[in-house]
């Protein structure tokens, strides 16, 4: 049963991620990215990360993608008539990844199933949100504060860039 669900989610994720790159209209690219985000959230639920699945839907689908669609429709962009002719560079960059996939698919698929995965999840599965909150606010407290600082700097930068005459003398 879990194999079936993983097959569905993985197939849809691969298909829609290719559609993001292949579709020429940016609105359609953004919409297929939305479908991909939902399926990644489903994959997170399969991996016992329920809180992350909710955060994925709220932040990615609700905030980031709406921002993309807003900008796409604000700028009234045209379709790409043709792609960059950089297939050679892309092929060179992607060779290590293809080799990694082949190695994993051929050699490591059977041996990497560990026995630890079959035992019941104690802290991870029982209360995912509680466990993540305790970890985030005890072990990772300083990175959490740094993340808030990063968001503040990004917000100030976006306002300065988007406001037309903020540093100019009127």
């Amino acid at each position: 049963m879990s194999q079936l669900f993983f097959g569905y989610f993985a197939g849809m994720i691969a298909l829609t991620s290719m559609l993001v790159v292949a579709l020429r209209n940016p609105v359609y690219s953004a919409l297929s990215l939305l479908v991909m985000f939902f399926h990644i959230a489903g994959l997170f639920v399969m991996l016992h990360a329920e809180f992350l699945a909710a955060v994925q839907i709220i932040v990615y689908c609700g905030a980031i993608l709406v921002l993309y669609l807003f900008v796409v429709m604000l700028l009234n962009v045209k379709q790409d008539d043709r792609y960059h002719s950089q297939w050679r560079i892309a092929a060179i960059v992607c060779v290590p990844l293809v080799i990694e996939s082949i190695v994993l698919l051929a050699g490591g698929a059977g041996t990497m199933v560990s026995s630890r995965n079959s035992e019941p999840h104690d802290a991870v599965a029982t209360d995912n949100t509680l466990a993540i909150g305790q970890t985030l606010f005890s072990t990772y407290l300083f990175p959490f504060e740094v993340a808030s600082l990063v968001l503040l700097v990004a917000m100030i930068g976006a306002i300065v860039l988007a406001k037309r005459d903020i540093g100019e003398v009127r």
Partner: protein, 100 residues
């Protein structure tokens, strides 16, 4: 039970698609969408290893990746709007501001 190598292969496929998208698209918005693909591929890896090793650190790091993604989107889209204001296009081949 799904072996972790399947998740690695799925993540590699998505990451590869993102790299190809960054390289071949001419639209800046499509390039940013491809960067989102790559970030999500790393998120799949983080969560898969977090479940495999029974360690919550991977799930916490997805939060930080999400923070970086949100900051990147905010600044990147503001830059796109500023560029569209000055050049009235978002085709990357029209820009040569950083060329020497």
């Amino acid at each position: 039970m799904i072996p972790i190598s399947y998740y690695l292969i799925l993540s590699a496929i998505v990451f590869l698609t993102g790299v190809v998208g960054v390289l071949i698209r001419r639209n800046i918005i499509a390039i940013l969408l491809s960067v989102e693909l790559m970030l999500n591929a790393t998120n799949i890896n983080f969560v898969a290893f977090s479940d495999h090793l029974h360690d919550l650190g991977g799930q916490v790091f997805v939060f930080f990746a999400l923070t970086v993604a949100a900051a990147e989107v905010a600044v990147g889209l503001a830059i796109i709007i500023a560029l569209h204001r000055s050049r009235s296009t978002i085709n990357v081949e029209e820009f040569n501001l950083l060329k020497w």
